[in-house]
């Protein structure tokens, strides 16, 4: 492994202290960029103005407690409860299938791997659609009938299956990131396989995995907005349907709802970053924490996981 040298500022390596020409160019770009950005934003604002979207009547509802109490906060509560329930179930799914995928028995490893690759390869939305419409049909095939699946349940099932599969990959990578000497030391003092897993690998892997698990929660929270499509009354629905149908103010509602989503997700992302910095310093694990960016982790299907 290549040891990465400490680097204070990303930009500073790529360019020298600017000379006279570079300073001049940078100054020009420093003026042109804001002009272009303000131009695009200004065009948008101007178009909003032309369509009368700055009228106070459209924004005024957001100053009323009633609007927040009866639409936005219940929507936020539904979004968060779907996300929290799905996160808990997905973690359980991840642990069970993660152990399954790491199993030495082929007949356990293969089906677990197939299930994970399947759920990772298809869109969450078609899982949500099928989770809602499918179970009654399947029950009917067996001459039974079941209660209709609620929108909440469908969203939770879809989110659990997809994010659970991502957690499986995170879990596997976390265990594999522990230097092999750790497990060997365990076997050397006579621990069994299950003891090595539970007492040596898992505790260290948790420190390693924590940041990336938290950053995956951002993905989960964002995907909970898919509930909108099956009329789950989440935050998105509250803004784009309920508030809008009462006050006919789609644009202001969209801006407020976006701000809420971004604020929550930035907070969670920040938490993930903080955890990463903390576990990088921590000496509880022999491995460095996994990157919070899952795109490298999920890169190739059927992979044996990153080799470390």
């Amino acid at each position: 492994m290549r040891i990465r040298q400490p680097r204070k500022q990303q930009g500073s390596v790529l360019f020298d202290a600017p000379g006279p020409r570079a300073r001049w160019l940078n100054r020009v770009l420093g003026v042109v960029t804001p002009i272009v950005v303000l131009g695009v934003v200004g065009l948008f604002v101007w178009q909003l103005d032309r369509k009368g979207q700055w009228a106070w009547a459209l924004w005024e509802p957001f100053t009323e407690a009633k609007v927040w109490q009866s639409f936005i906060l219940p929507g936020l509560k539904n979004t968060l409860s779907a996300a929290v329930v799905a996160a808990a179930l997905a973690l359980g799914f991840g642990v069970i299938f993660g152990f399954g995928r790491l199993s030495e028995r082929r007949w356990i490893r293969m089906p677990c791997g197939a299930a994970v690759e399947f759920f990772r390869a298809i869109p969450v939305l078609i899982m949500i659609f099928f989770a809602q419409a499918g179970p009654p049909v399947i029950a009917d095939a067996f001459n039974r009938s079941i209660e209709p699946i609620s929108a909440f349940e469908a969203v939770v099932i879809g989110l659990t299956l997809y994010n659970g599969s991502v957690f499986v990959e995170i879990f596997r990578a976390g265990i594999r990131a522990i230097p092999t000497g750790q497990a060997e030391a365990g076997y050397a003092i006579g621990l069994r396989k299950s003891d090595v897993m539970l007492r040596i690998l898992l505790p260290q892997a948790i420190t390693t995995m924590m940041p990336v698990i938290v950053s995956q929660l951002v993905v989960l929270l964002k995907d909970s907005a898919l509930g909108y499509v099956i009329a789950y009354e989440d935050l998105l629905n509250a803004g784009f349907v309920q508030v809008k149908s009462n006050f006919n103010n789609l644009i202001p509602a969209a801006i407020v709802i976006t701000a809420i989503y971004v604020a929550i997700n930035l907070t969670v992302s920040y938490l993930a970053g903080w955890l990463e910095r903390r576990s990088r310093r921590s000496r509880k694990s022999a491995a460095v924490p996994l990157s919070t960016d899952t795109s490298a982790l999920l890169a190739t299907p059927f992979s044996k996981g990153p080799n470390t």
């Binding site: 790529l14 298809i122 399947i138 067996f142 964002k222 969209a254 960016d293 795109s295 999920l298």
Partner: protein, 233 residues
Amino acid sequence: MDWNNFYDKLLNFGPFLEHSNEIWSGFLATIRLSAMAAVLALVLGTLLAAMRVSPVSVMRATATMYVNTLRNTPLTLILLFCGLGLRDTLGFMAQAAPTVSGYWLAVAGLSAYTAAFVCETLRSGINTVPIGQAEAARSVGLPFSQSLRLVILPQAFRAVIAPLGSVLIAMIKNTSVALVAGYFEATATMKQLFDDVGATVPLFFGFAIGYMILTLPTGLLFGWLAKRMAVTR
């Protein structure tokens, strides 16, 4: 036990084959959206990554703000805003035929969203390029734009082929959300068939396999490319 019913609901691929024309055009629409959005997202994402490492602080701040906002907003919200906000309220592309405007609004929303992820992936690729490369580029007198274009980015791209592949796969799956912007693709077709002929298991698996045919080879191709193009150090 009604075995005919059992067969129809759980095993009969008949309806899937009967509607193969609609399903084919649904997936074709998915591919058209993916291809266009992938190209635009790559271009915009590269531009954003270049801005994020540039010496001009205003550029860095702009790109950072863009990435932080787009990455933390649900895609459903973005595409819904494209449909309901940009078209229906603000009148962008309102005169175009619904199929045309739906396509371009979905392309706009999807590529704007994906560009943020491309930018972050590329930036992590720039981080893997050894400092010596940048220093060497500077010492032979290359200015920022040339050292980025000729030395840093080519190596950064090759380092992140596999992660870019997973961004692309995520984007292909995300095309399923385009139905909220009014674009009719494979997932919308599936929903329609669920309503028309019922949500049978074969129908679901048929569509799932359709998506897997798009995503799994993409992942394997990018994995292979990543190995082939890896920078030997």
